[in-house]
């Protein structure tokens, strides 16, 4: 066999291997989805969405769980977005490139990789005990905000970095201050990217159970939370709780709740994709 034949063969071999790898991921996901849908979709009806939890599987619903999830989602967004975006803007636009800022940068990236349960422990100590909040919505939202803050900061910086230097120069040269340049040029040009990143961060937070269990979110909440100071549960905790029961009917409930949770996640991801698409269409450098 000549060398070029060998190379062609290797090329072909890698293609086949690559297709195989791609399919493993897709097939596993598809099997999971199909399994869940077959198991749970029949269970989803209006009553399931609007009923309170119950000891009897047939009467149990996820009203408190999805209401808690939406509460957590909105509160975490309100807390983490302004903090994270402001920090990202500061680090990218204002901070001088010193050893300290390098050190900060590396550690923020590291924080994004810390397991979520560690954040749960931090939240337990900081919010539940030291601030004496207890296992309420606000404590949960603060904890998840800490969890996604590094991701929000990092994605904000990436989006801001993608705005060309020349746009800033143009703005400065016309007498604009740093803030005017950030507000009028950098943010409008990068907001799509920023939102994409932070929404993906949120959709990660929505799926978290561990840190919320640690701070003391309840599995059984017989009322819909009406303020950030109320006790709460979320969908992942409800799912976790149901899957640990021995009765088959609860497993069906869990599958149905998983479908709802996935819908929320897909919806968030869909918004992110839409925003990114719109941004790309609007601005070509």
């Amino acid at each position: 066999m000549t060398n070029s034949e060998k190379n062609r063969l290797k090329d072909k071999a890698f293609q086949v291997f690559g297709i195989f790898c791609t399919f493993i991921g897709l097939v596993v996901l598809a099997i999971f989805l199909i399994d869940i849908i077959i198991e749970g979709v029949g269970r989803i009806d209006w009553d399931f969405l609007t009923s309170l939890p119950s000891r009897r599987a047939g009467r149990a619903g996820i009203l408190t769980a999805w209401a808690g999830t939406i509460w957590i989602l909105v509160l975490s967004a309100l807390i983490a977005f302004p903090l994270g975006i402001a920090a990202g803007i500061y680090l990218e636009e204002y901070a001088k490139k010193t050893k300290l800022s390098n050190f900060l940068e590396i550690n923020i990236a590291n924080l994004a990789g810390v397991p979520s349960i560690i954040y749960g422990l931090l939240g337990l100590e900081l919010f539940v005990r030291m601030m004496n909040l207890g296992g309420i919505l606000l404590a949960g939202a603060l904890t998840l905000s800490l969890l996604i803050l590094p991701i929000v900061i990092v994605t904000t910086r990436e989006a801001i970095k993608a705005v060309p230097r020349t746009i800033r120069d143009g703005s400065f040269a016309l007498g604009a201050s740093k803030w005017q340049t950030v507000w009028n040029q950098v943010l409008p040009a990068s907001i799509g990217g920023i939102l994409t990143g932070v929404i993906l961060a949120l959709s990660r937070a929505v799926g978290e159970a561990a840190p919320l269990i640690v701070i003391g979110a309840l599995a059984y909440v017989p009322f819909v939370p009406s303020s950030p100071m109320d006790e709460f549960t979320v969908l992942p905790i409800q799912i976790f709780n149901w899957t640990s029961r021995p009765q088959a009917a609860f497993l069906t409930n869990a599958a149905a709740a998983i479908i709802i949770l996935l819908l929320i996640t897909f919806l968030l991801n869909g918004i992110a994709v839409y925003l990114r698409h719109r941004q790309q269409k609007k601005i070509k450098w």
Binding site: G170, G175, A176, K284
Partner: protein, 254 residues
């Protein structure tokens, strides 16, 4: 040049990027309502020097200057000078056209809007006047609300000039304004420079020797951070004093 006060003047100017000295003891005076071209090989400091006139180097970590730059006799690096005020007086056009990703109208009035001017009539009038000055009005008057990014490269560069004119500076700095453009667009920019020098003091950095010859009244040759020679363009191109200038303009290096 000595009787009339110079528009722009550098006195014993040194500039540093950290430990690297980019400009060495520059002394130069530039006349009002004339075009001065800076030429020299890449890395000779001419762009750095240009950017000291509107303090664009301020944003570079580790950049500092010693000596003075005078605009109408006033040191622009003095403590009481506000950079935004300075840049209203000294406009700049960059190498690559850099329109904002906004409408043509928004691009032109941006400098006014950030000054807090909201009077719609004034903004519209300034927009038209600036675009006419930049010889772009006829091409864009029907699409002021369209994205500036849809314009051709040459049009974009003239838009950037209009944008700079809108805030009524007295000096315009141009950093290789035509180097990213095709020959026809380049010719239009050069014609424009001829027009503009009636009202503005223009400093232009260029790599193109013919361009320097065509558009400028005075030429300054920079080499390794030093100002080697500064003279009337005609004099400089016909009888350069320094051998380095001669070598450069005849194309022997650079």
């Amino acid at each position: 040049m000595t009787k009339k006060q110079s528009k722009l003047e550098a006195i014993n100017l040194d500039a540093y990027y950290g430990d690297f000295q980019a400009l060495k003891n520059i002394n130069i005076a530039m006349e009002e309502k004339a075009v001065t071209a800076f030429i020299g090989p890449s890395g000779c400091g001419k762009s750095t020097f240009l950017r000291t006139f509107n303090r664009m180097n301020d944003y570079i970590d580790g950049f500092r200057t010693e000596g003075q730059i005078l605009l109408d006799g006033r040191d622009i690096y003095a403590d009481d000078v506000r950079v935004d005020e300075l840049r209203k007086e000294v406009g700049m056009v960059f190498q690559k056209p850099n329109p904002f990703p906004k409408t043509i109208y928004e691009n032109v009035v941006y400098g006014l809007k950030i000054q807090g001017i909201k009077d719609k009539k004034l903004l519209q009038e300034t927009c038209e006047k600036s675009l006419q000055q930049a010889a772009l009005w006829n091409e864009v008057k029907d699409k002021l609300d369209k994205s500036a990014l849809a314009l051709s490269g040459g049009q974009q560069q003239r838009l950037c000039i209009a944008r700079a004119l809108a805030i009524q500076p007295s000096v315009i700095l141009m950093d290789e304004p035509a180097s990213a453009l095709d020959p026809i667009s380049t010719a239009k920019i050069e014609d424009l420079i001829h027009e503009l020098k009636k009202d503005y003091t223009i400093v232009i950095v260029t790599h193109n020797m013919q361009q320097a010859g065509r558009v400028s009244d005075h030429t300054a040759f920079f080499y390794m951070g030093e100002l080697v020679e500064h003279a009337k363009t005609k004099t400089m191109f016909t009888s350069p004093k320094d051998t380095r200038t001669q070598n450069y303009i005849t194309g022997r290096f650079g």
